[in-house]
Amino acid sequence: MKKFLSIVLALVMVLSLAACGGSEDGSSAAADTTAADSQADTEAPSESAATSDFKAGFICLHDEQSTYDLNFINAAKEACENLGVAYVIKTGIDESEQCLAAAEELVEDEGCTYIFADSFGHEPYIMQAAQEYPDVQFVHATGTHAHNAGIANFHNAFAAIYEGRYLAGVAAGLKLNEMIAAGTITADQAKVGYVGAYNYAEVMSGYTSWFLGVRSQCPTATMEVSYTSSWYDEAAEYETAKALISGGCVLISQHADSMGAPRACEENNVPNVSYNGSTVSVGPNTFIISSRINWVPFFEYSITATMNGEAFDADWTGTIATGSVEVTEVNEAAAAEGTQAKLDEVKAAFEAGTLHVFDTKTFTVGGSELTSYLADVDDDGTFTGETEVVSDGYFHESEYRSAPYFNLLIDGITELGN
């Protein structure tokens, strides 16, 4: 019992110490929230504009080490600074109950009235939180339920990134052509490799559009896809890329979020096309280009609407026109000559509406042309398609819902499993 008492005493001492630390600083709890505020504000140049107590909260699966999360974090900071609003970013939030807890903390303790979550698996928890706090706007990227969930304060957002992927694919195709012309590879050896995270629509739509871009320039191109079963596993991504390279792939792209694949490419001197942002720092000699979603326009749109108490889209799809779909600068050290000129040409065709990524004349599934496809747009849990998405000669990706639903394996692409 004496021991018990003494431990109590020891703990009291710890606590009083912590309390002292707090009170010297001002008035412990209250002082701290202001400390957090001012931290966010000092980053915002227009502090005077942050007069309202509006605060945006962001939930990220990983931290800045992940290219995917970094793309969101940078955009969140930029948008909030442009609008002069305070923000809190929580990183390393699992796709688990942790996400709901983070949302509760942001709402109740930080006073956020706008919450954004960035990962596919966050969706059920964000929906749960949206029902718990009807006065707070919840936005979830890549999600599939907001368009028909009927929860007024729950929103999904994504972009027609397949157009950006296609552009990046065009750059890769030009590189293949250059390699064929130089005699480094024959036309039959134009096999590209793709390191994917999981085999569901978001990834499949991504690699298919990228591959169609590649093949639009290099008709003999084929592709092998290998999955890592993780969004961020540097070692697995590195090894998977290396395995693809030793399997004869002469150019690699990836949809997994670490620097693993770009690093493997640089070490083996294999050209690489990225996603989410430039990886030129890791691959100065091999990085060609990267497509990315620029989230700033969406953040500005949705945060402004929330501040003004206006309604905004339950399901929002960014496009090239909204400035949401982008490719990075071309790395001249690795890209083929004339890449930028070709990209400008293709981009103009997208904007004019004369070019469609999933033009059914450019690909076949199981040997035949796709004339009809029922996609599971409503995502009601039955996993059966109900919406006809092929019409006017192309597959209408991200038109009936922002999140991708192209999940067909087209001829020319082989999945290697994981």
Binding site: K3, L11, G21, G22, D25, D32, T33, G121, E123, Y198
Partner: protein, 363 residues
Amino acid sequence: MNNKTPLIHITRRMDIGRPRAYAYRAAAIILAFIVCGIVTMVLTGENPLDVYSAMFTGAFGSSRKIWALLQNLAILLCVGLALAPAFRMRFWNLGGDGQVLAGCIAAAACMMFLSGALPNVLLIIVTLIAAVCAGALWGFIPAFFKAKWGTNETLFTLMMNYVAAQLASFFITSWSKDGSAKIGIINQNTQIGWFPEIGNKYMMFVIVAVILAVLMFIYMKYTKHGYEISVVGESERTARYIGIKVRKVIIRTMLISGAICGLTGFFLVSAKDHTLTTTMVGGRGFTAVIVAWLAKFNPFTMILTAFLIVFLSQGCNQITTALELNSSFGDIITGIILFFIIGSEFFINYRIHFRKSSKKEAA
């Protein structure tokens, strides 16, 4: 004069007074905070007082945070209570993570595949039994091998963690219908198989942990089983000499240890998270080892050690958000503080002698 005494030598001390022991511990904690302050200033340029106050708000900043703290404390305590009898027996059960996860897998399976087949109350009972059995099985396997063939339980239990994690990963992938390898919230709309809330969503675990702590205290201190466990822990030979069936005690204790882990897994899935992920146990099986050891396996002292750990982790979480630091920084702070606390135990148990100058010794 050739001095054979080493510069430093260490002797075990048996007679340190309690007040003095606690003075050492308090000094360690104060030192730890000072070192943390210096590290913070040097590495980040932040005011260390901001760091301490962020820690305090992280743990006690709002009633929600206090509840979350209590809930996390309760979960950690449950795992610690599960491990305590095994460690008291000097059975190095490092498999807490796997045993809890085994319970989680069983619970999630019941909730996913038996919903609708059974009335809700019955489903919850079946889920509970399945989770407890799965946890007990995960404890039984290494114990059986240890008792029968003398295998090394440290490695065995450790490896069982990986088996459980891979199984969880396998089941999540095969049960996830859309290929994203995520289960999401099980029965989100119907709430079938969800353990009913008591008071608020945090309270359930607190009640469970308090009941478990009391039961474990009684079990270890006042029952024959508890006595047998401590005798086996002190000396297996003595235990055999006085007629204790050591193998039986090992297997029985590990069944209990695993079963409580499985029970914790049940409440994690059915009452708290309503999902299955590979990270849901979050290393508590290892953290609980520190909790149990620091408290010398006393269930009530464990409340305090668990509190200390949870306070640190929740506080550090706040530091990274409020001061916009990388989440690894919180881990550094926690590491420093734990280092000092564990270090103080060394100074309480051992005395360090420095060689006195040879002149003095000659005189």
